[in-house]
Amino acid sequence: MKFVATIDGQAETVEVTGDHGRYRLTLGGEVWEVDARLTAQGIYSLLIDGVSYVADVTDREGACVVDVGDETYVIQVEEATRYIIRTKGGAAGGHAHQVLAAPLPGKITHVAVTVGDAVKAGDTLLVIEAMKMENEFRAGTAGTVAEVRVQPGQAVNAGDVLVVID
């Protein structure tokens, strides 16, 4: 059975087979052999390659909230067909823009690119100063700078779109 799990805005396809506590999952190109056991309401004990994990799974407004280790993840799980219908083809259907949004509030101290520049993955796009740190942001993939929406000295809020690369 195929599912699509959406986590941090990224959709991943997960295939599950097996039953009675022994499962095989395909996820991110890897195959995971999992021994799973429900030890109490919503608490799963997972054995993977001999390593034991305890995951606490609760439902919050239709999404799964998973507590494992010291981390909490919010994950949307849908049966794959339903996901494809809902998104009309899924993530693969869109055009490959790369949008740099401010991941934190701060002040732009340096902008390294202008519209029309060709950039390759790893090139510095700009620097945001926050909490006395100069934080460099780099291009994730190669492309051409389509928009630069900020300039040095400008304060930005988390989520503001800063640079768009085509």
């Binding site: 890897e30 056991r37 006395k132």
Partner: protein, 502 residues
């Protein structure tokens, strides 16, 4: 014994260190005056001080770094002394002079000693004169990019850029090749300017796989200069300390005495008074090289306090009041081992990005031999204008192994919700076998981060697996085995961190 009474102290700082100083004042019956920028009205130091006064807009350059405002508030509030904490104006000789001119006791060294030692290039000149070994580099700040390039070619790459007036890793950059030099200079100068109000930087040869080990000193106005042993500060990211401990796993009594003697010699030569720290690089052969002097209290001072039993902030206030220390080097004794972990508002697995925002849940670790020096509380909003340090978690143990076990336990108890913090990476470092074995240098964290990050990635995959299996089951594939009868009544906490792993 008091030669100069201190009855009310203005704390020219914010965050956990301001709280630390306020507590020391209270324990000595001294009133405390806090200052706050517009972003800090609800900061813990404001809530805890006896009085608190606003000093301007959020940027430190318009508030915490404005000497005139601080002196004016101190005078208006009737303070007779000023404690600068660390960072901001703590190593600014002009501030110390302005306090003295206004009749305020500056809780720190005399301005001349700050100038002689606080300026890293001047301190290097003194150390050279005393014959203390040191790392090759410039003895003056570099003026222009062109000059920097010329000197850099002489020293050779890789090299370090360091802030002349700085400390705490701010304004520090590693430059591996000449093409990186210009950008690195710009960022180092920007950081140094923002952090210390002075953007001068200097260059130093890069030492591979060094340890960063520093010696705490105390000097009174009556000629006594003592050292309180060393702190190991090699666990760093972005050249900023993350975990410190005392004693260092590589320093024995003989080496401690040699480093301590060198530190006291430098302090005496500079006419140093009050608490200070002499930083050394230690190479894999245990040779130590003078690096710089921090003319102030260090962030990591608690680990020295825990092993010596000496309250450094109390001693700072006593020294400033012109009291003699009243004990000698032979009276300093070390017991057990202490470790400090810095809990910063940063996302360790997201490129160490700062993580300002509101703390919606906070439960601190407590219990035996656990100390928390914090500037945060539940409901507090971490502003975006200042450094990321929220709290310091300090533990003591009878030996280093016991301290590590205790820190593991304490980090597992500590929970902060609402913002990202360094807690998860601290837990992983402390659990690392090389950390436990004492096998590390300042490169340690950079080297192990990829492995730690991939372990986090695995955790993310496990979370996806658990979520998918829960949905699989919900859709009618109710094939998971029932809980066994023996544990049917058991209640287990699924949120445990770290040590439960099989």
């Amino acid at each position: 014994m008091t030669m100069r009474a201190i009855t009310k102290v203005l704390v020219a700082n914010r965050g956990e260190i301001a709280v630390r100083v306020i507590r020391a004042c209270r324990e000595q019956g001294i009133a405390s005056v806090a200052v706050f920028s517009e972003a800090d009205r609800e900061a813990l130091h404001v809530l805890m001080a006896d009085e608190a006064y606003p000093i301007g807009p959020p940027p430190a350059t318009e508030s915490y770094l404005v000497i005139d405002k601080l002196v004016a508030v101190a005078k208006a509030a009737g303070a007779d002394a000023v404690h600068p904490g660390y960072g901001f104006l703590a190593e600014n000789a002009a501030f110390a002079e302005a306090c003295a001119a206004a009749g305020l006791v500056f809780v720190g060294p005399p301005p001349a000693a700050i100038r002689a030692m606080g300026d890293k290039t001047a301190a290097r000149r003194i150390a050279r004169e005393l014959g203390v070994p040191m790392v090759p580099g410039t003895l003056e700040p570099v003026a222009s990019d062109a000059e920097a390039r010329a000197i850099a070619r002489e020293i050779g790459f890789p090299l370090m850029i360091k802030a002349a007036m700085g400390g705490g890793g701010k304004g520090m950059r590693l430059v591996r090749q000449e093409s990186e030099l210009e950008a690195a200079l710009r960022m180092a100068r920007n950081e140094a300017g923002a952090a210390f109000g002075d953007s001068a930087v200097y260059l130093e040869r890069y030492v591979a796989e060094p340890r960063h080990i520093e010696v705490q000193i105390l000097a009174d106005r009556h000629g006594t200069v003592l050292h309180l042993g060393e702190r190991e500060c090699s666990i760093q990211r972005r050249h900023q300390k993350l975990i410190e401990e005392s004693p260092s796993p590589v320093v024995d009594a003989a080496m401690r005495a040699r480093m301590g003697e060198a530190a006291c010699r430098i302090a005496r030569a500079a006419g140093y008074v009050n608490a200070g720290t002499v930083e050394f690089l230690v190479d894999p052969e245990k040779n130590f090289y003078f690096l710089e002097v921090n003319t102030r209290l260090q962030v990591e001072h608690p680990v020295t306090e825990m092993v010596t039993g000496i309250d450094l902030v109390r001693e700072q206030l006593r020294i400033a009041a012109e009291e003699p220390l009243g004990y000698s080097q032979a009276d300093i004794a070390w017991r057990g081992a202490a470790i400090e972990c810095r809990i910063n508002a940063e996302d360790p697995f997201g490129g160490w990005l700062p993580s300002p925002g509101t703390i919606t849940g906070l439960r601190a670790a407590t219990g035996p031999w656990v100390r928390e020096d914090s500037g945060a509380y539940e409901g507090y909003t971490v502003p975006r204008f200042y450094d990321t340090l929220l709290a310091k978690l300090i533990v003591w143990g009878a030996d280093r192994g016991a301290a590590i076990d205790r820190m593991t336990r304490a980090l597992a108890e500590y929970r902060i919700v609402g913002i990202r913090t360094t807690i998860p990476v601290l837990a992983q470092i402390v659990a690392h076998e090389d950390f436990r074995a004492g096998r590390f240098s300042t490169q340690f964290l950079d080297r192990i981060m990829p492995a730690l990050t991939s372990e986090r990635g695995r955790l993310r995959s496990v979370a996806v697996i658990a979520a998918v299996l829960a949905e699989y089951e919900r859709l009618g594939h109710r094939t998971l085995p029932e809980p066994p009868p023996a544990t049917q009544d058991a209640w287990r906490l699924g949120h445990r961190r770290g040590w439960r792993r099989a």
